[in-house]
């Protein structure tokens, strides 16, 4: 391959990975359902090397797929045929921490949790905490606008990034700041899935550690009771720092790994975290406990260790489900909270219809569902069944006024579902926005936004956002 030779000539040998054998481990990210080997992988150690990659790829008209830790669940970092993967994992320095201004400047390959660890001595932390925070990178977080269990109160990545430096496809540096006058280019970059530029530096906002953090775990005999409790908590004027739900499958799997003391026989589990100054938390706790009247058991974490263990179960729930099934397919739909119980019941019906188990573990507080469809890729037809079930679930979310993805991104995986959520004109605008940054379409092309042709072939699935007045939930 000519381009590989050129990369090898222009860059240190140890950062250019080529050949079938060595590029294969890069053929997928956290979504191993889709695979594609790249031409080569480059792991730059400085910005100048990124520029060289961009220049060479421009010259050869070769697509660039940027990648952080490869933990994404939508195939955003899936290589494309004849593409170069630009892995930013070696750029993992925390450049500066400013405890007074409560900001940190970091390279894109810094792991999410590494920021919180580094600033802990100043009683600060970085609020967005996706479940993969132990491994996922801040660059990837910006690209996906990642959420996490604490974003109900503290916002998504877009709310916690103050500035970024990025390279455009021309290799020019663009600095975007939250307080720039004019249109919100920084907000646009959040969640742009590597299609608009290469992020080279991120300035994040740090949040003071609250005076008190109180986690409450409640178990329920009926999923509906748990779901209604979620709505009632918000209705009562409480915004918990985290409000998470797990169903029986997920409870069992997480318990197998963490031994956190989750009640295995419960049908649903609620984790509700309150934080703030001592008195506020006390008041909210009293209010909260009164709202848990339908709970079977209630446990108030009484030590920091217990709190962390209970969270660890939740945060490792996805991969823990790997214990129940050789493969799983993770959905990420969002819905208005008050539909929670109905939608969960519908998912149960769909699960029975497709004869595939579905484990639910999700951010209930912001209506962000994560149904995990359990399947076995070695059984013929199972993948297709899982995909079909997934599509049904996402349609259901859009139909009640929600979205096909709350925090994982569209990647390669939800392209079809995008046709359901957006009309042709809107998709066209998305394509034009990409062209405004990347006219030759070299940055992660084909991801995130489906072609109009693709949607046309799927048939006209689009329902206008939220405009089904009384969505017919029982349509299955």
């Amino acid at each position: 391959m000519q381009i590989t030779q050129e990369l090898l000539a222009a860059l240190p040998e140890h950062i250019v990975i080529h050949g079938d054998e060595m590029t294969r481990p890069f053929e997928c990210d956290g979504l191993s359902m889709y695979r594609q080997k790249p031409l080569a992988v480059v792991l730059p150690e400085n910005i100048e090397q990124i520029r060289i990659v961009i220049e060479i790829c421009n010259k050869h008209n070769t697509p660039i797929v940027s990648r952080g830790a490869g933990t994404g669940l939508a195939g955003g970092a899936l290589p494309l045929d004849n593409s170069i993967v630009l892995g930013l994992s070696k750029l993992n320095k925390i450049k500066t921490i400013d405890p007074q201004a409560k900001t940190a400047v970091v390279e894109p390959g810094v792991r999410n949790i590494a920021i919180s660890e580094a600033v802990a001595q100043h009683d600060l932390y970085y609020a967005p905490d996706p479940s993969s925070q132990i491994a996922c990178t801040i660059g990837g977080n910006v690209a996906e606008n990642s959420g996490g269990v604490h974003c109900l109160k503290y916002g998504l990545t877009v709310h916690n990034v103050i500035a970024i430096k990025m390279l455009t496809i021309d290799g020019e540096e663009l600095i975007l700041h939250r307080n720039d006058d004019g249109i919100g280019l920084l907000a646009l970059m959040n969640g742009s899935e590597g299609l608009l530029g290469i992020i080279t530096e991120v300035t994040v906002k740090l949040t003071p550690k609250p005076e008190r953090v109180q986690l409450v775990m409640a178990s329920f005999d009926h999923v509906r009771d748990c779901a209604n409790t979620v709505s009632n908590i918000i209705k009562a004027g409480i915004i918990p720092a985290g409000l998470e739900m797990m169903d029986q499958f997920a409870i069992g799997a997480a318990e197998d790994f963490t031994h956190a003391g989750y009640p295995r026989d419960a049908q649903a589990l609620l984790l509700c975290e309150l934080d703030g100054d001592h008195d506020n938390v006390e008041q909210e706790l009293t209010k909260l406990l009164a709202l848990l009247s339908t709970a079977a058991t209630i446990k108030v974490a009484n030590s920091e260790q217990e709190r962390l263990t209970l969270w660890q179960g939740r945060k490792s729930a996805f991969p823990s489900v790997g214990r129940l099934s050789p493969d799983y397919y993770c959905m990420d739909g969002t819905i208005p909270r008050h539909y929670l119980a109905d939608v969960l019941e519908n998912i149960t019906q769909l699960s029975a219809h497709y004869a595939l188990r579905v484990a639910n573990v999700f951010h209930a507080g912001d209506g962000n569902l994560h149904p995990l469809i359990l399947y076995d890729a070695s059984i013929e037809g199972d993948i297709e069944k899982a995909e079909a079930l997934g599509t049904e679930i996402l349609k259901l979310c859009v139909d009640v006024g929600g979205s096909i993805t709350g925090e994982h991104g569209v990647g390669i995986e939800k392209l079809n579902a995008m046709c359901h959520q957006f009309a042709a004109d809107e998709l066209e605008v998305f394509h034009q926005i990409k062209a405004a940054f990347d006219p030759q379409s070299l940055l992660n092309p084909g991801k995130a936004i489906p072609t109009l042709h693709r949607c046309a072939e799927l048939g006209n699935m689009h329902v206008h956002n939220n405009e089904l007045p009384h969505p017919e939930l029982e349509r299955f």
């Binding site: 249109i183 819905i335 208005p336 008050h338 209506g367 979205s403 709350g406 995008m418 959520q421 062209a435």
Partner: protein, 189 residues
């Protein structure tokens, strides 16, 4: 006024200036599109912490509805009695941008487009509803805005303002390209 009338007015004009209640963007153009007449609540469910209003709705009105449910706007803006949410959106502020969840707009070609939604988390497609905050009426006519609201016990975000400086050449080029995307014929002035 309904949305089709706004659409028609845009299509009929060669150039026009979008204004609200004239409180922040002073009209200096003969042909104006006055959005203040397009006002009122579209949807609001207090327990969802989300409100959708037409662009001409005044902040004062929004706050009065919220107060009824012991809720508030999560951001503060310079506000006279006649300031509309559409005007505030067009002027832009980082904290208002944070609160925005979705918009319905009409672009320079008269197309009605929806971006974002009415849920807290939504990363489907580019975040156009936050991109257009601060677009000063130059890219689209904003018709409806959905945003997050807060129970009144929680603190309103501190206003940090915007920094006015000459944009870099790269930024200027990208802004020019985006003007082409939303308003290729240069209708909105």
């Amino acid at each position: 006024m309904n949305i089709e009338e706004i659409q028609q007015q845009i299509l009929d004009a060669e150039q026009l200036q979008i204004i609200g209640n004239n409180s922040q963007l002073k009209s200096n153009h003969l042909n104006t599109l006055d959005m203040s007449a397009y006002s009122g609540l579209v949807s609001y469910q207090a327990e969802e912490l989300v409100m959708t209003v037409k662009a001409g709705t005044t902040i004062t009105y929004i706050e009065s509805i919220l107060a009824h449910n012991e809720q508030i706007l999560p951001f503060s803006i310079k506000n006279t009695a006649s300031t509309t949410i559409g005007g505030a959106y067009a002027i832009g502020s980082p904290e208002l941008r944070d609160a925005v969840l979705g918009v319905k707009v009409i672009d320079g070609q008269g197309r009605i487009l929806n971006f974002g939604g009415k849920v807290m988390k939504n990363v489907a497609g580019y975040d156009v509803s936050r991109l257009l905050v601060g677009s000063k009426g130059q890219l689209v006519a904003v018709c409806e805005i959905s945003f997050r609201v807060l129970p009144k016990a929680y603190p309103v975000a501190t206003s940090t303002g915007t920094i006015k400086q000459t944009p870099s050449k790269v930024r200027q080029q990208i802004e020019k390209n985006l003007k082409q995307v939303f308003d290729p014929n240069g209708r909105f002035v």
